[in-house]
């Protein structure tokens, strides 16, 4: 009996039953559809077993969009609950579960895959490589992320969602106070996808250090690649901390260890320290690649080289170092004394300087440029003032004495959404629009795109700026309700309205994809934006080998120089190209991980042990496997290239442009 109780949802509601039915119907629909259209083989060959970084990137992209909707649905439910005082839409337990899943899903299962999507799609192309350093590991990273996300997402229909906040502070997250299996899901799902992220970090550091095209020195790397490199260095240093913390937390919950409990010598503050030693760098893992995307986009649509390339690089290096020296600002109020607070107050504010340098560099890049207001550029231009506001409120929070008043209030919620939405989400949507033609062969509709931008920007301002005020008026975060007498009502209603505008914007994104898929022309060439960096020197859509001949690089905007200054990018003869074989192992292994994770959540030891053995068997088999990949022969490459026709015979093109 007790066994079945654990699978029950702690607070069933019509919304959850409806979701259960919806999930079942969609799953059945997918299975039936795949069978009916005989697509199982295609799915297996082209996607589930692929090791192609571009396809993996696309899968990351689709998962991230999916999770954006999951997290967005949670967000709008929270805003609806808070829109009026004493609302009864959600009860306390349900609200707690929703803000917890919202936070986790948005940071770990939406923003992370989104940046990994862009890294996968773009980095190999920008450095003139044919793939990442370890293609099969890359597939494993993706599938681990994916099953981690799925494990997290089934929590609300099987056993209950985590309810201790995305920070999961102990002892609240311990068995005594968080009694459902929700927090087990938190520990295990994040662990599984976190291992994937760590491997991505190692993979991309290696790729960027080892696989650059001839002539591309570090200081000639395009800015997005730089940002991806630094972000991945941070991943490599930060994620092991999370792994250890989650192992300890899991041990506390499942095996009665006492690492973070408040009795038997456990230290709740240790969890807070571990969490934020990972957690603060994590926000820079997200924001730096976003900065990289903005750099590419702003420079393209200003028709100018990036101003202050070197200072851009150095400021990112400095930010990455400082990001590890500030974690304590998340608990200034833990009673650590004036000296500690002073030190972390100063290190935190110091980050504003390199960040300010970047803002000025973007401004100077536009200065004397020729600015085209395309959709990606609108996001980038909107980003600058909004992110500046988010940044300066961060400096306000960094003044630790004043933070005693902001901490845990809506002011903080306003601040971090103010950096993360214009910073990360805008960048993702800008990047999505910018790179869409490269990978899908058609442009997204500009008119719908611009409308989306305005909805999301205005919605954002209305949704979050009122929170600065209610925060200063004493509205604590994570309260599921408040009384009429507090006077928070009208401003929260405004927030809800803003949230609704953002929800419309997200629907418009889907509509745009569908509309453009139907209506956009397909003859867009390979460089529709008149861009500057190397990824645009490939065909559209990009052939599996990326470059028939590896490019020769002599500046940080090699492609621009080939277009405008007649540099020849591709020299020499086409040769046989070595490619890695597809493999089903990453997918299968991740599925086994899923089973292991699920079994651990419910402490089902027999399947857990069997699954863990399965994981080791996969690893053992792999270490004895001989797989040398295969060759695409020069003849075949030439045929493929010929099919793309005159579009990208690079020498012809540079001649053509010099005639103009």
């Amino acid at each position: 009996m007790e066994f079945f109780q654990r699978f029950a949802i702690p607070h069933p509601s019509p919304a959850i039953y409806a979701s259960m039915v919806a999930i079942a119907l969609v799953s059945i629909g997918i299975v039936v559809g795949l069978t009916y259209f005989k697509k199982w083989g295609y799915l297996w060959r082209e996607w589930l077993t692929t090791v192609d970084h571009k396809k993996i990137g696309i899968m990351y992209l689709l998962s991230a969009l999916l999770m954006l909707f999951r997290g967005g649905a949670d967000a709008i439910m929270m805003r609806a609950q808070l829109a009026t005082p004493e609302a009864k839409l959600l009860d306390a337990q349900h609200y707690n579960e929703i803000f917890t899943t919202h936070g986790v899903v948005m940071i770990l299962f939406m923003a992370m895959p989104f940046i990994f999507a862009f890294m996968n799609l773009i980095v190999p192309l920008q450095i003139g490589a044919r793939d990442v350093a370890f293609p099969r590991l890359n597939a494993l990273s993706f599938w681990l992320f994916f099953v981690g996300a799925m494990l997290f997402n089934i929590s609300f229909v099987i056993g209950g969602s985590p309810d201790a906040g995305w920070t999961s502070y102990f002892p609240l997250a311990g068995n005594d106070f968080s009694t459902s299996v929700g927090t087990n899901y938190y520990m295990l799902a994040i662990q599984i996808s976190g291992i994937g992220s760590l491997m991505t970090g190692i993979n991309f550091c290696t790729t960027i250090l080892k696989m650059r095209a001839p002539g591309m020195t570090l200081m000639k790397m395009p800015m997005f690649t730089w940002s991806a490199f630094i972000a991945n260095v941070i991943v490599v240093f930060a994620f092991p901390v999370l792994t250890v913390a989650l192992i300890m937390g899991t041990a506390d919950r499942l095996f009665g260890a006492n690492f973070f409990t408040t009795s038997n010598g456990g230290m709740d503050m240790l969890w807070a320290n571990f969490f934020w030693v990972w957690g603060h760098p994590e926000v820079y893992i997200l924001i730096l690649p976003a900065f990289g995307l903005y750099s590419e986009i702003i420079s393209t649509f200003s028709g100018r080289n990036l101003y202050g390339y070197k200072s851009m690089v150095w400021s990112m290096v400095l930010i990455s170092l400082l990001s590890f020296l500030v974690w304590t600002h998340h608990f200034f109020t833990m009673g650590q004394g004036a000296l500690t607070n002073s030190i972390f107050s100063i290190t935190t504010m110091a980050i504003a300087v390199p960040t300010g340098v970047k803002i000025f560099n973007w401004l100077f890049t536009m200065w004397k440029g020729k600015i085209r207001f395309t959709t990606p550029m609108l996001y980038s231009v909107g980003f600058i003032p909004l992110f500046t506001i988010g940044g300066v409120t961060g400096v306000m929070l960094a003044m630790s004495a004043a933070d005693y008043q902001y901490h845990n209030t809506m002011f903080l919620v306003a601040h971090f959404h103010n950096t993360i939405i214009p910073g990360v989400v805008f960048a993702m949507l800008a990047g999505l629009t910018y790179y869409w033609p490269k990978f899908f062969g058609f442009m997204l509709n500009e008119k719908i795109g611009k409308t989306t931008f305005w909805f999301i920007a205005v919605g954002f301002v209305l949704a979050f700026f009122p929170m600065y005020i209610t925060g200063l008026d004493g509205q604590a975060r994570r309260m599921y309700t408040y009384s009429e007498s507090t006077g928070f009502g009208p401003l929260n209603m405004l927030s809800f309205f803003g949230g609704a505008l953002m929800a419309i914007a997200f629907l418009l994104i889907v509509y745009n994809i569908w509309y453009s898929f139907k209506n956009s022309p397909r003859d867009i060439g390979s460089d529709p934006w008149d861009a500057r960096s190397l990824e645009w020197a490939t065909h559209t859509p990009v052939p599996e080998y990326n470059f028939a001949r590896l490019p020769q690089i002599s500046s940080s905007q090699a492609f621009w120089d080939s277009k405008k200054n007649g540099h020849v990018l591709f020299k020499g003869e086409i040769e046989d190209i070595h490619m890695p074989n597809n493999s089903g192992v990453p997918f299968v292994m991740s599925c086994i991980f899923f089973v292991a994770g699920f079994s651990f959540v419910f402490a089902l030891w027999v399947p857990a042990v069997i699954a863990l053995i399965g994981v080791f068997v996969c690893m053992t088999l792999r270490s004895f496997e001989q797989d040398h990949g295969y060759h695409i022969h020069a003849k075949e490459v030439k045929e493929t290239e010929a099919k793309y026709g005159e579009v990208l015979n690079n020498e012809d093109r540079s001649r053509a442009t010099s005639r103009v």
Binding site: R304, A338, I346, I371, V392, A402
Partner: protein, 297 residues
Amino acid sequence: MMALVLILSGCEPLLVLDPKGPQAERQASDIMLSIGIMSFIVIVVMVILAVILFKYRASKLPDDYEPPHIEGNHIVEAICVGIPVLIVAYLSFVSVQSNYIVESAPVGYEEQEPLVVYASSSDWKWHFSYPEQGIETVNYLYVPTDRPLEFKLYSYGPITSFWIPQLGGQKYAMADMVTTLHLAADEPGEMMGRNANFSGKGFAENAFNVTAMSQADFDEWVQEVHETAEPLTESEFQELLEPGHLGQMTFTGTHLEFSPAPEHNHDSETTETEADHSEHSSHDESETNEETDHSGH
């Protein structure tokens, strides 16, 4: 940002910006100072952006305009680094100064003996023990004006955060240590206090009322409590600790006698400034305290 400033100074002041004591006053003035400087930065960025967007948009420029290649300029970059460095340095200076101010006895109250109140949280209530007066209240707090207040914070359960916005910013209450928060009230009145750190289902209602009154009124109240309230027994206190909500309650005696605070401070600094308090005898003792302390849940 400007709109924000306007609203802040509007008719009904926001709690944090309507201080009733020196600590909150210092915090409010830091906040206003930073809002001022930060608005300036935001406005500068916005103006530069607007000018650039207006001047250099493609539709305005001749077709044959070719943007120049510019690598950077040392003077410009020195300014872009220098000004933020100056601003951050100034704010750091203010911040460090304020840290020491809010962590010590309130300005103007250094000479007086503080009123010590042990504020402990349990799911989802607040227990206030007045050891000097020998009384204890639940979910409401009476404090004298014009006297420094020293709150000793700890928790019977998850981490909570003790916050009275109009007297000063919050600090965590944890199960395994005691943190100290120095406050003072300048004028009599009613205020809102609450737990600001999420602590589970009953978190939203985890609030308490604060009433500041003259020392004479306060003494009178203490007198009255001694005359009218029941003593707090150990078994009754254990009952109070059960998860749930309670109204306001008053007792004579405090739970500190049978369920002492986990008095070991991790932060050496605050301990030093309070060397005159006898509770900080030794660390060994606190180990045993911790055990008894957790038999409660």
